[in-house]
């Protein structure tokens, strides 16, 4: 049984690709055969974050157009031999992805025995974003604790409950999860940033994970290694926790509280 998960957000720059890379690497690490697909046609980037940019020969659109087989286009991950990347095409043709074509590729992955298909959605609510979510069973909505990101997430949640194949077939919306990124507990405590609870209450769906703001995220993307592999970093650990929850494990939320200040700091500040 294959599960298709879309990583989406509406707003750009909130961490969809970072999240797609780390969740798919985490699922593979836990022994699940996983494919991660970049739906951002024209703005391919998942390959860079996964560190396989120089191994892209064929892409998603090539497979849809029959110019390459799926097998030729799937790039096997360097670290996990059960993880495969399907790169987005760099074409400027906006209609390169078709619903039929995407459906066919996903069906073939299902027949190949993949456990998870992770769809990295482009920003916006245009065709690419629509197709990334259309065939999904579950959705991870990536959100920053910031007004425009929260509002856009709510719009995406509306689309998820009406514009997916499941919804059209009357099967109801699939499971929806929030994943907060760039979370800064110190600023939350100071009243400068909305809390996990605030965002969860406004959007009304459960939180899968909270990724604290961390310099390791940029370091990971600089090096092309999904941050989940940086097990010493809190962002990496927070992603590993999110993977566990995705697999149905009950893991308590870490890194959401500001570190306690010592006596000296409390008296004299920083």
């Amino acid at each position: 049984m294959t599960e298709t998960i879309v990583i989406t957000s509406g707003k750009g720059g909130v961490g969809k690709t970072t999240t797609s890379a780390s969740l798919s690497a985490g699922l593979a690490q836990r022994g699940h055969k996983t494919a991660v697909i970049d739906f951002d046609v024209g703005l391919r980037n998942l390959d860079l974050i996964m560190g396989c940019e120089r191994r892209v020969v064929y892409d998603f659109v090539n497979v849809i157009h029959g110019e390459a087989t799926l097998k030729q286009a799937l790039i096997r991950d360097k670290r996990h031999d059960n993880l495969y990347v399907l790169a987005a095409s760099q074409t400027r043709d906006k209609d390169a992805l078709t619903q039929d074509g995407v459906g066919r590729v996903l069906d073939e992955l299902k027949q190949d025995g993949f456990d998870y298909i992770v769809c990295d959605s482009p920003a916006g609510i245009e065709k690419g974003a629509h197709l990334a979510m259309y065939f999904s069973d579950r959705a991870v909505v990536v959100v920053n604790p910031e007004v425009s990101s929260v509002r856009d997430s709510d719009r995406i949640l509306g689309l998820l409950s009406s514009k997916t194949q499941r919804a059209e077939k009357g099967q109801g919306a699939g499971a929806q999860h929030l994943l907060l990124t760039r979370y800064n507990p110190v600023r939350v405590e100071a009243g400068e940033m909305m809390s996990v609870g605030d965002v969860e209450e406004i959007l009304g769906i459960p939180v899968l994970g909270v990724i604290p703001e961390s310099e390791n995220v940029l370091a990971a993307s600089n090096s092309g290694i999904p941050v989940i592999h940086d097990a010493g970093s809190i962002a990496g650990q927070a992603y590993a926790d999110a993977v566990s929850r995705l697999l149905g494990e009950d893991v308590s939320m870490r890194f959401v509280d500001a570190p306690k200040k010592g006596f000296f700091k409390r008296m004299f500040g920083t």
């Binding site: 910031e146 007004v147 929260v150 509002r151 709510d154 719009r155 509306g158 009406s162 939350v188 100071a190 009243g191 400068e192 940033m193 909305m194 809390s195 605030d198 406004i202 959007l203 700091k265 409390r266 008296m267 004299f268 500040g269 920083t270």
Partner: protein, 91 residues
Amino acid sequence: MSLLDFLRPRPKNTANIARERLRIIVAQERVTRDGPDYLPLLRNELLEVIRKYVHVGAEAVQINVERSSEGEVLELSVALPEPGAATGTGG
């Protein structure tokens, strides 16, 4: 809270402002989300007409689209200011 913080002007709790603003706009957009595109415009025009007669705030007009087997029902509710409240809530 450090000792020195008492000497500095306290920054506003902007997280609360963000939360309240989002709560209102998200609720408003959810109602009109599945309805026709003209709903927000309709709502604004209605508000303008009502304001010719009574002074009401921007939140005074609420629109709701109800779907049933017999079709769609557009539900409008207008909250008028309490008598005696001379200026209403402004807007």
